[in-house]
């Protein structure tokens, strides 16, 4: 997950990458970055209930792919509550 490293230890390149990842992910899902972070944390907690994983070692990436026929109208059919 994010924020596991001390901010002062991170180079601006790493900060840029983390910011890009979060921005891109929230764009793709059409939800705010806070919502996305909360969702990632909840998914991580849920997985940790069933799997033996160290939270700091992993990252949750959420990608929703529609099964419907491709087309501009189908890009954002899934709404974040």
């Amino acid at each position: 997950m994010r924020g596991c490293q001390d901010r002062s230890q991170r180079t601006s390149g790493k900060i840029a990458k983390a910011r890009t990842k979060l921005t891109v992910a929230s764009d793709r899902l059409d939800c705010s970055q806070e919502e996305l972070s909360r969702m990632q944390e909840e998914v991580m907690d849920l997985l940790a209930k069933y799997m033996n994983l160290e939270k700091e070692m992993y990252e949750i990436r959420i990608q929703i792919i529609t099964r419907a026929k491709r087309g501009v109208r189908n890009v954002k059919t899934i709404q974040i509550k």
Partner: protein, 263 residues
Amino acid sequence: MSEVIVVTSGKGGVGKTTSTANIGAGLARMNKKVVLVDTDIGLRNLDVVMGLENRIIYNLVDVVEGNCRVKQALIKDKHYPGLYLLPSAQTRDKSAVSPEQMIKLVEGLTELFDYVILDCPAGIEQGFRNATAAAQRAIVVTTPEVSAIRDADRIIGLLEAGGLKKIDLVVNRIRVDMVKRGEMMSVEDVLDILAVNLLGAVPDEESVVVAANHGESVVGSDTLSGQAYLNIARRIAGETVPLLDLEAGASLLHRVAALFRRK
């Protein structure tokens, strides 16, 4: 069999037009017949980047509206016999052309050329829809910046949604010294975020600016960026070319400086 490629980015100023001109020159250097189409109606740029701004008589809108034949609007490049430009109109706007008209125009060009390369305007509005409507494959240009990558991701999403299957990435303006210091995202970082095939990485060099000042391409010059663009052109043509070692170009001075900075 000719190929129609759109060069796009979403964000402006990342080097779409420069990349279009250099990729075109690279392919022409390989003796391919290439036409570069400036689809940015109202903000024409490709002509000046190629140094052909004084030779324009007819433009893309003239062809679409039937004021001239397509061959009359084509401008021959100064250096490469197989390279042509179809300039955009400066005094019109994006609504002057529809996607259907663009498809028809491009169809005509495919009969004359091996490669039809469309220089797409920034943004995701009609200009983008016009340029992408006729394309079979896309080259997405980005720089290692948060804003450019974000827009590139959006563009890739739109292209995929539009049914385009072949989408490649060019990472432009890499500064090896800054990547080494950790002050810039590396090509690998960009690829980690944008899951598309890498067509090539182009270093940020003064030579690109100098060449553009003269209205010339860097392809063919003894520079890393020139080599990078030539490699991109070869990959487009289907050759397997190993990725360029961008560090080889960092001057001794840079390397020594980087050595000190690392402490």
